[in-house]
């Protein structure tokens, strides 16, 4: 049996047993008083009340003491022969009933007390939980405010990059060109070459900044999701890449592609990036094979793949592949800033999917990305 918590004033044994004695004494006093006024039949309930009170506030053991004390007092003062503890045989059942009844009252009182205690405990627990939740909510609100502030800061940063970094680049290339024009006859070949290198570098820096800005914009932009036909997007991506595919012998194998739920322009960018990569890295092949298709292993997921027979890459660098400005090829061999696959990954993540690749050096590469069909997970 678990111990009950009594009010702090009722903790010590002396107090608890004292309550038993006190309550029975008071009941006895009141009973004697009412008997003096010739009112009978009130003694019994008075003692029961004293027992119940004792059990309620002091527990079971003081309750038993109260029962015993009440029995003696009742016997001594209120049953014939008066003022003796003598019990006639005829009174025995009467006493047994009294004791049983008193015990029953004591038991009820204990049970009630326990129930109340449990209820109080639950109430306290609930209160604690409410407080905890309030604290958590406040913390969440604070976090969300912090995040919003950080986002604002990022926007300001992107703005400043967009405006302040582009201007000096324009100046470098602008004045270098003016210089090139004005001193063409005076400067030797070496000087000319240096000037064109400055121009190239400035141009490259400009491209990097533009790519980085576009990349950061994808992270910040809201997605507008609709049903999108991947088949149509692939066609659009192909026609967008006409310049690169012109004069090339490319054998396209485009399978039947499903529709999915997502942001049209973002998914289009994913396909343009992946397909242009496939076109780019197969440039050294006399006959290019590019296969685009989808597999459907899980009911709620679409997996698209773009497979080429290009130069591929070593799988030991596969985890670098999707990083910002990561390149696995020399810039002389294949141009590009290295933002394309990072963009692909960011968009796919925002659609609740993932992007991965399989390849072998000189044996082509296959890029996969998964999209959830319902598109409910928007990250």
């Amino acid at each position: 049996m678990r111990s009950l918590n009594f009010p702090s004033a009722m903790r010590s044994a002396i107090q608890r047993y004292g309550l038993a004695v006190l309550s029975v004494s008071v009941a006895l006093g009141l009973a004697l008083l009412v008997v003096r006024f010739n009112i009978h039949g009130v003694e019994f309930p008075l003692f029961l009340f004293a027992i119940a009170l004792t059990v309620w506030y002091a527990g079971t053991k003081p309750g038993i003491v109260a029962v015993v004390l009440s029995s003696f007092a009742f016997n001594y003062y209120f049953t014939e022969p008066f003022y003796t503890l003598y019990v006639t045989a005829a009174d025995v059942p009467y006493y047994i009933v009294f004791i049983l009844f008193a015990s029953l009252v004591a038991w009820f009182s204990t049970v009630r007390r326990r129930v109340e205690q449990d209820l109080l405990q639950s109430r306290d627990d609930l209160e604690k939980e409410v407080i905890q939740r309030r604290v958590l909510n406040e913390e969440l609100a604070k976090r969300s405010e912090e995040l919003q502030a950080i986002n604002k800061e990022l926007e300001a940063f992107a703005y400043s990059v967009s405006h302040d970094l582009r201007a000096p680049i324009r100046h470098i290339s602008g004045f270098t060109e003016l210089l090139q024009k004005n001193v063409a006859t005076v400067v030797n070949d070496r000087g000319q070459r240096h000037m064109s290198m400055i121009l190239e570098s400035a141009k490259r820096m400009g491209n990097l900044i533009d790519d980085l800005l576009a990349f950061s914009r994808i992270g910040r932009a809201e997605t507008h999701k609709t049903m999108v036909s991947l088949q149509q997007l692939v066609q659009e991506a192909q026609s967008e890449l006409v310049q690169e595919t012109e004069g090339r012998d490319i054998n396209w194998k485009v399978g039947k592609l499903p529709a999915c739920y997502g942001d049209r322009s973002m998914l289009r960018l994913v396909l343009v990036n992946l397909i242009s990569n496939a076109v780019k890295f197969t440039r050294t092949r006399p006959q290019t094979e590019i296969e685009i298709g989808s597999t459907n292993h899980k009911p709620d997921q679409i997996v698209m793949f773009i497979k080429d027979n290009g130069v591929g890459f070593d799988m030991k660098y596969v985890n670098k592949l999707f990083g910002v400005f990561q390149r696995l090829h020399a810039p002389e061999a294949f141009e590009g800033t290295g933002i394309g696959l990072a963009t692909v990954q960011r968009i796919v993540h925002r659609h609740g999917g993932r992007a991965w690749a399989e390849a072998a050096l000189d044996k082509g590469a296959t890029f996969y990305f998964s999209l959830s069909k319902s598109g409910e997970r928007d990250l």
């Binding site: 992107a158 703005y159 967009s162 405006h163 302040d164 582009r166 201007a167 680049i169 324009r170 100046h171 290339s173 602008g174 004045f175 270098t176 060109e177 003016l178 400035a202 141009k203 400009g206 900044i209 533009d210 800005l213």
Partner: protein
């Protein structure tokens, strides 16, 4: 600096000013340009205040406006111009480095006549500025009250 100009160029970066003037010079338009180095100066010019007190009261044929400016920024200048009966007809072309969609949307909402992002590439920049200059200062018929061609 001449107090008369058919093009008011509002640009804080002296290098951009020089590149812009170089580009406009190819069509002999550089003489027609008045440069304001911040938003306040641009408004001073329009309202003939401060150092522009003595200029004639005509409006420029076009205003080439950078957005990021000291003191009064470009969007504030634009708002001021488009809300003043006297100036709201002046064609305003925003010429900025900012690709940000917000700036573009705000500018158009305020009634800008064109929004041009300064190309990083010098050739493209020169071409853009030339075309702007030729179009707004020569081809386009400016609203009444503008400075007449010299």
């Amino acid at each position: 600096m001449s107090a008369f100009g058919r093009i008011l160029l509002v640009e804080d970066d002296p290098k951009d000013v020089e590149l812009t003037l170089t580009a406009l010079d190819d069509y002999k338009l550089a003489n027609e340009v008045v440069v304001a180095r911040d938003g306040e100066e641009a408004l001073d010019y329009l309202y003939c205040r401060g150092k522009f007190q003595t200029r004639s009261n005509d409006n420029p044929a076009v205003l080439l406006l950078d957005l990021k400016l000291p003191k009064v920024d470009g969007l504030e200048v634009l708002q001021q111009i488009k809300s003043d009966e006297k100036f709201k007809m002046i064609p305003v072309v925003v010429l900025t480095s900012s690709h940000e969609e917000n700036d573009m949307v705000t500018s158009y909402k305020l009634g800008v006549n064109a929004y041009v992002v300064k190309p990083v590439d010098f050739h493209e920049f020169v071409n853009a500025v030339k075309e702007l200059g030729v179009f707004w200062a020569l081809i386009n018929e400016p609203p009444p009250g503008s400075i007449k061609k010299n």
